[in-house]
């Protein structure tokens, strides 16, 4: 563990990719994630069946050549649903996670670094943590659904509402974690030294604070993607989600749970898709963290 190999100094960006490339898990995660994205983007052209196409005669079927993954209780094709659902789930998962982690990091860093903002921001976090989620969402639907629908059309309007609802109700954990770390960093020698040298706040955050809290942030991000994908399905049961004829992985998994003993494929595939996405995001996160850590060097196996 104490043995280390020292890299000769190389330009920063090259070093980043070099480090990232030597991380086998990260590369594998990147490849899988790229494949998933490619599948949901190109898939509907390769497999052009309409996911909403009902075929009662073929309901609740196992895999066959007409339906490689089988069908649901109305005879809708699962493969087509999985490909179309992936677009929704990935988009919601990534955007909502980005919103939550971005907001959480912003609040956490500000509160941790600036004493004056600490108390008000943390009390705001307390407030958001205490609000009961369901009534909050019901109020959100009541107040904004119709105006967003009028402004952006039914689908984009609901997308904004969903992403907003998930993002604005899940930033608090990240904020508290980041703040806790920053509080501890604030008193470290290198930060005090940097302050003494007159480093500007933004440079300070970028150069000294963020790289050192990156680990927990990336964990938040990884967990956040999974959380958002699953929360989206929960929302559709409040009438806040997409209409029932728009498939998503979370929704397919939820509906499929009831049919688990009839057609196991209905839980296996969406479950696998969600797990693979979360796992690959996790490994990418690991690779990013290792590659971005300025002091980090890959341990050599003894």
């Amino acid at each position: 563990m104490t043995e280390r190999t020292l890299h000769p100094p190389v330009p920063r960006r090259t070093a980043f990719w070099h480090r990232f490339g030597t991380h086998r898990g990260a590369v594998a995660g990147m490849v899988i994630f790229a494949l998933i994205i490619l599948a949901v983007l190109v898939g509907p052209w390769v497999w052009p069946l309409d996911p909403a196409q009902i075929d009662i005669a073929a309901k609740t079927q196992g895999p066959s050549s007409a339906h490689p993954l089988g069908t649901d209780q109305l005879g809708r094709d699962l493969l087509a649903g999985l490909l179309a659902g992936g677009r929704v789930s990935l988009l919601v998962g990534l955007v909502a996670m980005g919103l939550a982690v971005g907001l959480g990091t912003l609040v956490g860093v500000t509160a941790g670094l600036l004493r004056r903002w600490d108390a008000p921001l943390m009390r705001l976090t307390d407030l958001f943590l205490s609000l009961p989620l369901l009534p909050l969402l019901m109020v959100a639907i009541m107040l904004w659904r119709d105006s967003l629908r009028a402004q952006f059309g039914p689908e984009t309007g609901i997308f904004i509402l969903i992403v907003g609802a998930i993002g604005l109700t899940s930033w608090m954990q990240t904020a508290r974690i980041v703040r806790g770390e920053v509080l501890s960093l604030r008193e470290r020698e290198f930060v005090i030294a940097a302050t003494a040298l007159g480093t500007r706040p933004f440079a300070m955050i970028r150069r000294h604070i963020l790289p050192n809290v990156l680990g927990p942030i990336l964990v938040s991000a990884t967990l956040g993607v999974g959380h958002a994908i699953l929360t989206e399905s929960a929302l559709s049961f409040l009438g806040l989600g997409f209409p029932s004829d728009v498939p998503s992985w979370g929704r397919m998994l939820f509906d499929g749970t009831h049919y688990m003993t009839l057609t196991p494929a209905r839980v296996v595939w969406p479950g696998l898709a969600i797990s693979l996405t979360v796992l690959s995001v996790n490994y990418i996160g690991d690779g990013l963290r290792d590659a971005l850590d300025p002091r980090w060097t890959r341990p050599v196996r003894r």
Binding site: I54, K59, L74, F237, G239, P243
Partner: protein
């Protein structure tokens, strides 16, 4: 006397029901413990303050009415000695009063006697203002309730009452004990927690423990009028989970003996029941899953006039061709089969039962005919001129917003209708709303079924008991929800026809059952022909029972647990 009758019943019942007559004729409590699952858990055991069947039915183990409906919908004397009629003089000539006589020798579970005073008190309990009595409408025309002697009670009505069996009859209005509830009248009703969760009754069981929203335990009532009953010594009614999980506990794990209200995809139920530890039982009452058509314009640009008659008629949903096409494009047997299985019958009437009220004038819509639907639209001038698959006429586009409450079966039905309507050139946008909002009636919310800010919506309605008068009154002009009446009123389609109102007034004056049925059928047909409602499925109630349970008679007209005193456990599965 009553004991003898019980003995006779139980002997014949035993012969019919099983090869082992001794089983059905055991003494009280011989069958041990009974586990019932109501997945929507009871939160109170006072039907007058309840929130629906989940509370009322468990309460029926303890509290009993004067008369109730048996599994065929026939009114049967329960605490009363017989059913008052014009013939036996129990109903006065002018139809303005009814006189009930209690069975002699009835006792409460605390050992005191049931008297006419308890009956009078119960009526007073519900009629006192500020008591929050949910069954108040059953008593709305009652002017006086008096005890003529210890066992006789007379109810007097303000106007002639052709059907006087509303108050104190059926599962919703059982008799309370005066001694127990005396301090709970009016505004005090809400805070009488001890009384509301453990009422003293005359039924086969009494409450031993009550945990709101979780579990109720009962034990056999030692004072029960038939000493041989109930068959079970103790009963647990557990709540929680969902309908599918509830079915699993009876049909697959065998942990429960009875599970209530299983509105689940029939394919899942059948799979569970196959070779399982229980079976599915069904019965039909009056519920019909139907589409409500908004006859007024729900367009947001109208502001406060949205979905009101003042805002004008709907741009195309008053066109008989469109309404007819929407209806015959639906394959009701597929909807019934997929969503309800054996517990669903395709129907074209909103009044499908009891049999005497069922009309057959509208049965043409039972057969799906997409070609005719297209032809109807074509003939009315609705054509797809721009080739986008949706028909237009005079700048109007056949695009509807179709909303309902969140529920897996309803979402499947929505998907089916959307695909059929797409085939005849009608575009559908689906929307789901949380039931607590949709049925909530909060005037501040745009998503209530009464505001109806959509073109079409779907839900089930029904009427309790067997008399449809109040139900049919839902579609009179004065029942239209408007901002002026705070959106109260159940005339959801905003249907208004003076002729219909006249028939409703006539129904209120008619006593003879045959004449009433003829009127009711006419009113049903008027609604159907106007296309204000599009009925889909006559829904049955579905429950699951253990293979070892016997004596259950599924009942849609009263509590499903109405004859729980007769339930027993077989030594071996049937």
């Amino acid at each position: 006397m009553t004991g003898n009758q019980g003995g006779m019943r139980c002997l014949t019942g035993g012969i019919v029901l099983s090869m082992l007559p001794a089983l059905a004729c055991a003494e009280q409590g011989a069958s041990g413990h009974l586990n019932i699952l109501y997945w929507q858990a009871p939160t109170i055991l006072n039907p007058y303050l309840s929130s629906g069947p989940k509370d009322i039915e468990p309460a029926s183990l303890v509290l009993e009415p004067l008369a109730r409906y048996d599994e065929t919908g026939t009114l049967t004397p329960w605490l009363a000695a017989d059913i008052p009629t014009l013939e036996n003089g129990g109903i006065s000539e002018g139809l303005t009063s009814i006189t009930w006589t209690l069975r002699p020798g009835l006792t409460w579970s605390d050992g005191t006697n049931v008297t006419a005073q308890d009956v009078v008190f119960t009526a007073k309990y519900c009629m006192t203002p500020d008591g929050g009595c949910q069954q108040a409408t059953k008593f709305s025309d009652v002017t006086s309730v008096e005890a003529l002697d210890d066992l006789t009670v007379r109810l007097t009505f303000a106007a002639p009452k052709p059907f006087p069996y509303g108050p104190l009859v059926g599962v919703e209005t059982p008799i309370l004990q005066k001694a127990q509830f005396e301090g709970c009248i009016g505004a005090n009703a809400q805070s009488c927690t001890a009384q509301n969760t453990a009422p003293i009754g005359t039924g086969p069981f009494r409450v031993t423990e009550f945990r709101a929203g979780d579990v109720v335990t009962f034990e056999a009532n030692p004072q029960y009028r038939d000493p041989d009953k109930p068959g079970f010594a103790t009963v647990t009614i557990k709540g929680g989970g969902d309908a599918i999980g509830a079915a699993r506990t009876v049909l697959e794990t065998g942990e429960m003996d009875y599970a209530w209200n299983l509105q689940v995809d029939p394919a899942i139920l059948d799979k569970m029941a196959a070779g399982g530890t229980g079976q599915i039982i069904r019965s039909f009452g009056t519920p019909v899953e139907r589409l409500m058509i908004n006859r007024t314009d729900p367009s947001p640009s109208l502001g406060d006039l949205r979905s009101t008659r003042d805002g004008g008629a709907h741009p195309f949903l008053t066109d008989p061709a469109v309404l007819g096409a929407l209806s015959i494009a639906i394959d009701r047997s597929v909807v019934a089969e997929l969503g309800y299985g054996a517990a669903g019958k395709p129907t074209c009437d909103i009044l499908p039962a009891p049999a005497i009220y069922a009309s057959s004038a509208n049965d043409a819509c039972l057969t799906q005919d997409l070609d005719r639907a297209r032809q109807m639209l074509e003939d009315a001038g609705w054509v797809d001129s721009d080739g986008d698959g949706v028909r237009e006429k005079d700048g109007g586009r056949l695009s509807v917003l179709f909303q309902t409450s969140t529920n897996p079966v309803r979402q499947d039905t929505q998907a089916l209708l959307k695909s059929w309507w797409a085939e005849i050139g009608i575009e559908t946008e689906l929307r789901q709303i949380d039931p607590s909002v949709f049925f909530g009636g909060d005037p501040g919310s745009p998503d209530t079924f009464q505001k109806f800010y959509a073109d079409i919506q779907m839900f089930t309605n029904f009427f309790p008991g067997t008399d449809p008068e109040a139900y049919l009154n839902n579609w009179t002009c004065k029942s239209i929800p408007t901002p002026a009446n705070n959106w109260l009123g159940f005339n959801i389609p905003r249907y208004c026809d003076p002729e219909y109102d006249a028939l409703a007034a006539q129904l209120a004056q008619t006593a003879d059952l045959k004449d009433r049925a003829a009127l009711a059928r006419r009113m049903n047909d008027m609604l159907m022909q106007a296309g204000a409602l599009i009925p889909l499925v006559h829904r049955g109630d579905v429950s699951a029972i253990s293979n070892t349970l016997q004596g259950v008679k599924m009942n849609s007209w009263d509590s499903e647990l109405w004859n729980i005193a007769d339930w027993t456990r077989a030594d071996e599965p049937r």
